[in-house]
Amino acid sequence: MRREPSSQFRRRSRVRTAATAAIGLAGFSTGLLFGATTFQAAYVNSASGPASGGTAVQIVGNQFLPGASVTVGGIFAGGTVRSGTLITASMPGRPAGTLSDVVVTNADEAVATLPLAWFSDFNDVSQANPFHGPVERMVRDGITAGCTGGNYCPDSPITRSQMAVFLLRAKHGGSYVPPPASGTIFFDVHVTDFASDWIEQLYAEGVTGGCAPPSPEHGNLPLYCPNDSVTRGQMAVFLLKVYHGVGYAPPPATGVFADVDPFTNIFAAWIEELARLQVTVGCGGGLYCPDASVTRGQMAVFMAKSFHRPEASRFLEQASFGPDDGGISGVLGRGYLGWLADQYSAPVSSYPGQPMWPDDIPDSCDDACRLQNYSLYPLQTRFYKNALYNSDQLRQRVSWALHKLVVVSGDSIAYPAQLQPYLHILDVNAFGNYRNLLYQVTLNPAMGEFLNMDTSTKYDPNENYAREILQLFSIGTEKLNLDGTTQNDGQGKPMPSYDQSVIDQFKRVYTGWYIPDISCPPPNGSADCADWVSPMAYDPDYHDTDQKVLFGGFLPNPTTLPPDQTGDQDLNGAIDATFNHPNVGPYLARELIHSLVTSNPSPAYVERVASFFNDDGSGVRGNLWAVIKAIVLDPEARTEPSDPIYGHLREPILYATNLLRAFHAVSADGTQQSDGHINHYVRDLGQSVFRPPTVFSYFPQAYIAPPASAGVLGPEFAIMNANTSLKRANWVNDMVFWGGIAADPDDDSPLGTSIDMSELQALAGNPAELVDRLSRLLMHGTMSDALRGSIVAAVNAVDGGDPFGRAQQALYLVTVSSQYQIER
């Protein structure tokens, strides 16, 4: 039996060599550069469950063969191979509170191991327990194995000795072993005591000085009080000293919690810093309960929210419009799966439904009226407000990705009442089924107008929509493998997925539909309006009822639409034929990965995601929720990348929202929410919300980042040039140095937009700490030493008496750096 290397996620190096990147020799979008995917196990979906066993899980990987089987901790777990990328298995019983290897043995006896992938729940921390996610995290980090008898004892107070173990393992890693204790540090800690090594090491590292100072009756040694509980006030100090380093001193307290006096409570500054980081929101009612003991369950939450902030921040770069401290703590408190479940059910952000107005602007419509009814202002401002303030971040991010793919441009569909129903379709279907989205968007009047399906008749069928729904919304121009690489013919040339003859069939399907006129609602009751809200209307007299054969010559089983069908029957047949085309999964997977995670995913990653499009695990095709989860949970999204071509340039809108969200964007005067009037700034960076220049969106899918000789895909670089690169820096300059966007009613900015840098100012006394804070929040802790050193030096060049100036200096330099602009 061949033993595979036991790395959790093995990926072939995809560093391109000069030979493979040769311009004009190898097609850069073909599979030639990558080769086929290889057998591997990538991850276990929902990787924990009751110790008694019986949990159904999905094991996701590549090149699973029928007959492959699974063992968990050496125990046979069966396994049903649903596809080359998915095995379902029922977890066996395993000792409570332990981790077990999950091993897939392929039908050819090749073996892939996911080390310690399965967590068997503690008996006293079930899946429903609010501490489950953080406790599981502690076990996976190697910090705890529980208390006794397969339990974690979440409600027991944590002792100071247990805390020493937890903190040092969190700081140094789960396998850390401290040097042996001497027994000469604390009067009440002897070498044979539980955790004596850990306690003395905590002392050696300067985190603790003990619970009582040296005294003659204790042999002139301090006390540690190893069996005492830890108060919430004390814990704030311990956590922050480990998190920031022992030299850290928090900014002065100002009075955040009613029961923590900023002047008399010695822990006040620490507690408030913990609150600023959103590691805690207190114990309720505006209180912190500083004297209450910390339980082991609470400790797990404190630990997760303190020590995993960078990875949660990175997750939110992909799954939201930008991380902020509250969002990071939200992810860490719930775990990825819990957070995703919350996102699924979060209230759907909406766009204001606008009353219809006539095409010809009535004389009575003044400037304010025009702004609301004849410009995209209401939609663009709402876009930014939704992105900045609403809780359904993932849905909005996906909806934005879908808009970039299934384009209607406000350049042509320029009135808000016309565009809003289209946006609504994207929002409500973002986690729904792609077939519904395709159907609804096809009959959407804005799309009908934009791509000319409106009034296309059997006499003069217009082929525009027939072409673009195939090329851009579903299958692309070339036959794809499941992993997104192009299928080539014998000469190495990509095989087309359709040609003009296919379009000529499809275009006859999309005939007979039109946008009907209706009476305008008040105050324009006497004028004619078009109905942009209802799906397009159908007139059978203009529908081509001859037979259509779809994908003839391009698929082994073309779809025949028989003669004399109604327009809707034909439409459903055509949407089904399109939706079921084997290209849709890999095409959509590739484009959504580009938008959410990286411009250069491995084919294996694309394949794993595309497979979830084809079958969500329960036999449903087109389930976008399954696709989105597969994108953000995949190891290629979750593991810090080493591949030099990984990542993507933050497109202007994300560049803007990430900065605004991280620093709690508010109105110009800081008293309320921003008015969302931000697009007039960001459009100078090359991206105007809802106004892509053409149906090819804001930037072309296949754009190569400079230099072309490197052959690395970077679609966002199509709008990153000399002109826009400086405007990106100037946008940061305006936000950071000039107070943001001023409130100016004459400029349609009733409230304006600014960011809150007070927390950075508070760190200005320690430039290194200030820069590290920015690295953790904005760059998930990946800032290089060279960049860090140079920014710290520049911050030091600002007078220490000007903390605001130092905060500005640091924030500007981090956000204009290429390290930040490329999200990895």
């Binding site: 990147a21 040769a22 340039l649 053409t694 090819f696 670089f717 690169s725 400086l726 820096a729 960049l787």
Partner: protein, 478 residues
């Protein structure tokens, strides 16, 4: 330099340049003197005008002799909504190439500046150009016996075919960029980029070595400005940290790309320190202002940039006329004609009308057959298309191209006729001249050495001639 630029180009297209080596080369070029003041004696510039969406050239140039106008009218009756009335066409008589045939032509009624420049022999029409892998007959196409461009009739793909000139496979470089690579030796006195785009980072402008400069319209000394540095010691420290940050962390390919783009902006910002005055009045339209910006860069080059070869790229949209073609294309043509008229006048003002050639390209032509309601009629995606070339060195006042199966350089305006892709088609012309030939003709004039032509246009060997004859004497390759 140790080897000629041409050798460099040849080597790098065979075994692609590593990213690191390309960076090193770019940096080396960046060391050259930005402030040399002697203008090159032999200045040549190309201006690419991209008509985004697929221009319907069947209404750009219309036959006006009775026989051929009637063919046109049969396919596009006035009642269709897009048939042009003979009396409205701007007559240009018989192009010399058609002498003795009795054929006459006219421009769309909104192209009065084009008519005027044509009659002054400053404007040429190149007929039925489009992406081709090799020459193609209707039978070849119908029977699938010869390779055809990938993804015909698709906007994005046909734009790629046009801008890369390679209809056989996808490549990331454009022929403008490769021409710049091949003539970089002409510009060794300057570090200003050979290519300036006034409309983003189009593929046309991307070479193996060449990265285009993309700028906006507006005052030249105000378009590439980094705000917020006012000379305080804190500002200086910030600027220095910002500059330093672009030199580190270059292992991640996209980070290096972002740094290089910004570095170029910072470098160029210093060179664009004045806003030259152009007295010619340009239309206050997007295209007009883009061409004004080109004129200003040319003027700046005369005083400070010191390039002897330049390529410009401008873009104007709205040509995808599936609906409402009569009004939309009419407005587009009015803008195009007035903007190009002003641009030529500005070239005369600068004394460089014989040194600059402007040329059009578009996604594709459009179906001869109208589609949609007469009230909102338009046309669908086609293939071969007529192009305009403007300049004092253009052999203007004539039509150019390659004779097709109909024996003429001009397609037969009959749906399903011999110029069509098949007897069942709707008036989509199989091109009779390839994009590669169109480009090579311009490249010859620009100064690409004959030996480099096959590197810049890899398929050029598949066609009978590398020069369609519409340009004057070939330039020096430096």
């Amino acid at each position: 330099m140790a080897h000629s630029r041409r050798d460099f180009l040849r080597r790098t297209t065979c075994a692609a340049l590593s990213a690191a080596a390309a960076q090193a080369t770019l940096r080396r070029l960046g060391l050259m003197n930005l402030y040399a003041t002697t203008a090159a004696s032999d200045y040549r510039a190309l201006v690419c005008i991209f008509l985004d969406g697929g221009n319907d050239s069947n209404n750009l140039i219309v036959p006006t002799d009775a026989t051929h106008y009637n063919e046109y009218l049969a396919a596009r009756p006035i009642s269709s909504g897009i048939g042009l009335d003979a009396s409205s066409l701007l007559q240009i008589g018989t192009p010399p190439i058609f002498n003795g045939t009795g054929r006459t032509f006219g421009f769309h009624p909104n192209l009065s500046e084009m008519q005027s420049l044509y009659t002054q022999n400053k404007l040429a029409v190149v007929c039925n150009v489009g992406p081709l892998v090799e020459p193609l007959t209707q039978d070849d196409y119908v029977n699938g016996t010869k390779p055809t461009p990938y993804s015909l009739f698709s906007h994005s793909d046909q734009i790629d075919c046009w801008q890369t000139s390679q209809a056989s496979l996808r490549i990331p470089t454009g022929w403008g960029g490769r021409i710049a690579d091949a003539t970089a030796g002409c510009n060794s006195a300057s570090s200003f980029p050979t290519i300036t785009s006034i409309s983003g980072s189009a593929t046309f402008c991307v070479g193996i070595e060449t990265t285009p400069l993309a700028i906006d319209t507006g005052a030249l000394n105000e378009i590439l400005v980094l705000n917020g540095f006012n000379g305080s010691s804190a500002d200086d420290a910030r600027k220095s940290a910002m500059d330093f940050a672009r030199t580190i962390d270059r292992t991640a390919v996209l980070m290096a790309a972002a740094s290089d783009v910004t570095q170029q902006a910072v470098d160029i910002s210093a060179a664009l320190d004045v806003d030259p005055t152009i007295n010619t009045v340009f239309p206050d339209t997007d295209l007009g202002q883009q061409l004004l910006q080109v004129a200003k860069i040319i003027k700046l080059n005369q005083t400070s940039l010191n390039l002897s070869r330049q390529i410009f790229y401008v873009e104007t949209g709205g040509y995808d006329t599936h609906q409402d073609q009569a009004s939309d294309q009419g407005n587009n043509f009015l803008d195009l004609s007035q903007a190009l008229g002003a641009f030529y006048a500005a070239l005369v003002e600068l004394g460089v009308q014989n040194n600059v050639a402007a040329f059009t390209h578009s996604d594709f032509g459009r179906t001869l057959e109208p589609s949609g309601d007469p009230g909102s009629v338009g046309t669908d995606h086609g293939w071969g298309n007529h192009q305009l070339v403007l300049g004092g060195s253009v052999n203007g006042g004539n039509f150019y191209g390659t004779a097709g199966q109909n024996g003429s350089i001009f397609p037969t305006l009959v749906m399903g006729g011999i110029s069509d892709t098949s007897p069942d088609d709707r008036g989509r012309w199989i091109p009779t001249s390839a994009v590669e030939q169109y480009g090579a003709t311009l490249a010859n004039w620009f100064g690409v050495a004959p030996g480099d032509l096959a590197t810049v246009f890899p398929l050029i060997g598949n066609f009978a001639t590398t020069d369609l004859g519409f340009m004057g004497t070939a330039g020096s390759s430096c």
